[in-house]
Amino acid sequence: MPKVLVVVPDKCTGCNRCVLACSLKHFNVMNPAFSGIYVVRIDHEPVDAPIFCSQCGLCINVCPVNAISRDPKTGAVVVDRDKCTGCGNCVAVCPIGAMTLDPEKKKAVKCDLCGGDPACIKVCPEDALKFVDAREAVFYKRFFTARLQRKELVPFKPYPRRR
């Protein structure tokens, strides 16, 4: 059974170590623009969130050159960068912003689960990222989805005044 990469809500401190490890492992450089995981920090709001592919596979069908496929071993959706033409269809269709084009060759970059041994979880100081079995993953996934339906705390004044 393939393992699943999940995020534990609220744990991320926004340190970007996962981002550095990802680009280092895949491209031998350290550069957020070459990473399959991206940490978004929202100013004036308590949000630090790692964004990465959920391996849904929506991008597979929109690729005109069949450069995207599912790795049967890991279940990861992977890009063949030799075939990729950089059309950007996959970026357009990705619902969560997990697919990107690198700034140099303008080809698709995404999480491939490092072939089943993700580098990002090794450098996360908060254990905010987990690589777990499907049955454990579903708990975190439901937790994550439930948070989208959270009622805001009242009074919610994240940025009440500027001076």
């Binding site: 609220d10 401190t13 926004g14 340190c15 970007n16 170590r17 550095l20 490890a21 680009s23 280092l24 492992k25 491209f27 031998n28 450089v29 350290m30 550069n31 957020p32 623009a33 070459f34 920090r41 100013d43 004036h44 709001e45 308590p46 630090d48 700034p103 580098a119 090794k122 450098v123 100081p125 908060e126 009074p155 004044k157 994240p158 940025y159 009440p160 005044r161 500027r162 001076r163």
Partner: protein, 639 residues
């Protein structure tokens, strides 16, 4: 030349001529000065003359990163500024975290050298290897948060990083800070005023260039090893979970919490100002700087009540003590608010807290009256006094204008012997670590640190005998076990302090935070571990000892800078207040007694002349700095 770890490019900005140019990094500089403050020290020595007015166009502002900045090395999110300090007239430097340093490297530069003065407000926009000077007329007078908001929208890069000054920097408040990523402060020495004097409101950086390691697999392996070491970091609980403000209760319990303008080192109500209180009531989440495994940053707010405060980062330990405990405050909400105001105005919370506590004491003694303060009664423990004075200092209004000059000048202006309780060294306000209660290492550190009294530059000297920790320095000759924290002479303090200082200089030059330096062989970034990381990252093979030699080069260059500015042993002092006995608490009765002997020991270890405080030619030549020795000889200031 292909650079690894380094970006290999320097951005030079002449604001007077409105010109930007790109230079190559000199290959031989890497091994000699490593980067960061080491580069800055060499540049300021080479390109500035002695005696320059710090607020004139002749002052140079260097914003530098090190080779490890922005990499997978733990706590790599640093930016270092070097300049001549308008507060002290001496060597000025300040460090900040956040992501500005890494982003500067992703934009393709190791550092920016800024000279001259713009004829009207400008900001610098740096993106992917190029830069331009743009008008900042619309930003002048705006706060740090406003400026950052506007600039991020204006440049159209929401992921860019902004370093800017607030109204305090514009008004040339002598201890104004350079702020980046909203709430991260390069606070000390008045870098904000230097930017203000150059009419430079902000620097915005964005880039998508890569930091390339020489041996990617080896570097990844070394970084993972360092990551594992940092999992055992001894301050993980206190700094990570409670933030630096977690030190309030810890230091108070040891009788080392500076209180009431350093009259004592114990505050019975410290818990009301502690990290536990912050976590319980106002902390929203923890926020780490780029690449950090510790994550000491706080993201906090005060949602309602008398002092409502928006979400922002802080307060730190220094802020809680200097703006709170020093004035006997017991209301943490007011400190969170004061911290927010200081961040937003661009003020150093340490110096601000120090001058305010000084003013309250001066008022209490009757040296100043309501006539001087514009009707404000300065009382201990009154939150509104703090908040009013923060406002007045940032805007230089009324009495705030006196305090905005720093505690040394304010004491001179007030006269009547007010300098007796003005707690500073070389004009830099003493921070919230006390040599009497915490460790006598601070006696040496406060006296000799190039920028004046500082607890963090070059290193937290208390780690050695207060905790105690060896920081992996035993193999380089650190005396072990450490002496009693109150012991003064005859316990090899000079030898120990030299190594602690060089280890700290190493962090400043390599471009990382100094928090991960403290621990034992297997739980921190020791010189050996740093050498391994530096070697596989840059492809330049070095040992821990090589690194410490480079660090000593920077340490002595900064000293040489100060000597050129006219500083010598006479300026390596402690304020009178720190020589007086502590009045209450566990450290009651503790005082610094053998100051001169302690300083002698330190000079001896550094290779400096005991009589004058000048560096010996032997030391400089040993470090390959013969040219510096020649320069100093020309003005007759070498031993």
């Amino acid at each position: 030349m292909k650079w690894y770890g380094y970006m290999g490019k320097i951005l030079r900005v002449d604001l007077s001529k409105k010109k930007v140019s790109v230079e190559d990094l000199k290959p031989e500089w890497a091994k000699l000065y490593l980067g960061g403050a080491g580069f800055g020290a060499r540049i300021l020595w080479n390109e500035m003359k002695g005696g320059v007015d710090p607020l004139s166009p002749e002052n140079i502002l260097v914003a530098s990163t090190g080779p490890l900045t922005g990499t997978l090395v733990p706590s790599s999110g640093s930016i270092f500024y070097q300049f001549k300090s308008p507060l002290t007239g001496a060597w000025g430097e300040a460090r900040s975290g956040g992501k500005f340093g890494p982003m500067l490297k992703f934009a393709g530069f190791d550092m920016i050298i800024i000279t001259g003065k713009a004829d009207e407000p400008v900001y610098l926009y740096v993106e992917d290897g190029s830069a331009e000077i743009r008008s900042a007329k619309h930003l002048w007078g705006k706060t740090v948060h406003e400026t950052t908001d506007i600039l991020l929208e204006e440049v159209g890069r929401p992921e860019a990083s902004v370093a800017c000054i607030g109204p305090a920097g514009e008004k040339l408040v002598k201890f104004s800070a350079i702020m980046n990523d909203y709430d991260r402060a390069a606070g000390r020495c008045g870098g904000g005023a230097v930017m203000g004097s150059k009419n430079l409101k902000a620097i915005v950086v964005f880039g998508e260039k890569s930091i390339v390691p020489a041996k990617p697999d080896k570097f990844f392996e070394d970084a993972l090893e360092a990551h594992e070491a940092m999992k055992k970091y001894v301050f993980r609980e206190i700094l990570g979970m409670l933030g630096t403000i977690g030190l309030v209760n810890a230091l108070n319990a040891a009788g080392a919490l500076p209180t009431m303008n350093f009259k004592t080192t114990y505050f019975p109500e410290a818990d009301s100002m502690s990290g536990d209180m912050l976590a319980e009531k106002y902390l929203v989440k923890r926020r780490a700087c780029f690449g950090c495994t510790i994550g000491c940053g706080r993201y906090s707010w005060v949602p309602d009540g008398k002092y409502p405060t928006p979400l922002h980062e802080g307060p730190e330990y220094e802020t809680s003590d200097m703006l709170g405990v020093q004035s006997l405050l017991t209301d943490l909400e007011a400190v969170v608010r004061a911290n927010y105001l200081c961040n937003n105005y661009g003020l150093d919370t340490i110096s601000t807290g120090n001058v305010i506590a000084f003013a309250i004491e001066a008022f209490e003694r009757g040296y100043i009256t309501e006539e001087d303060t514009g009707g404000l009664k300065l009382r201990w423990g009154d939150p509104d006094v703090i908040l009013t004075l923060v406002d007045a200092i940032a805007k230089r209004e009324g009495f705030g204008d006196v305090l905005a000059e720093g505690v040394k000048k304010a004491a001179e202006k007030i006269g009547k012997g007010a300098d007796e309780f003005a707690v500073h060294v070389k004009g830099l306000e003493v921070p919230a670590h006390d040599p009497r209660g915490e460790s006598r290492n601070f006696v040496i550190q406060y006296a000799v640190t190039p920028r004046g009294a500082c607890h963090m530059h070059p290193n937290w000297a208390g780690a050695y005998d207060f905790i105690p920790l060896d920081n992996g320095l035993r193999e380089f000759g650190l005396p072990w076990p450490p002496p009693d924290k109150y012991a003064e002479v005859g316990v090899k303090r000079g030898i120990a302090y030299r190594l602690l200082a060089l280890h700290g200089e190493l962090a400043e030059s390599l471009g990382i935070c100094r928090f991960p330096l403290w621990g034992s062989e297997d739980s921190c970034l020791t010189p050996k571990r740093l050498a391994r990381l530096y070697s596989s990252l840059t492809g330049i093979e070095v040992t821990g000892k090589d690194l410490l030699v480079a660090a000593e080069r920077a340490w002595n260059l900064k000293r040489a800078f100060n000597i050129r500015e006219g500083f010598d042993r006479r300026h390596d002092t402690l304020p009178k207040r720190l020589l007086e006995p502590v009045t209450t608490g566990p450290a009651k009765g503790q005082a610094v007694i053998k100051f001169d002997e302690l300083l002698d020991e330190a000079y001896e270890a550094f290779g400096w002349d005991k009589k004058t405080g000048y560096i010996t030619r032997k030391k400089l030549e040993e470090l390959g700095l013969a040219d510096v020795a020649d320069e100093l000889a020309k003005i007759g200031k070498i031993a």
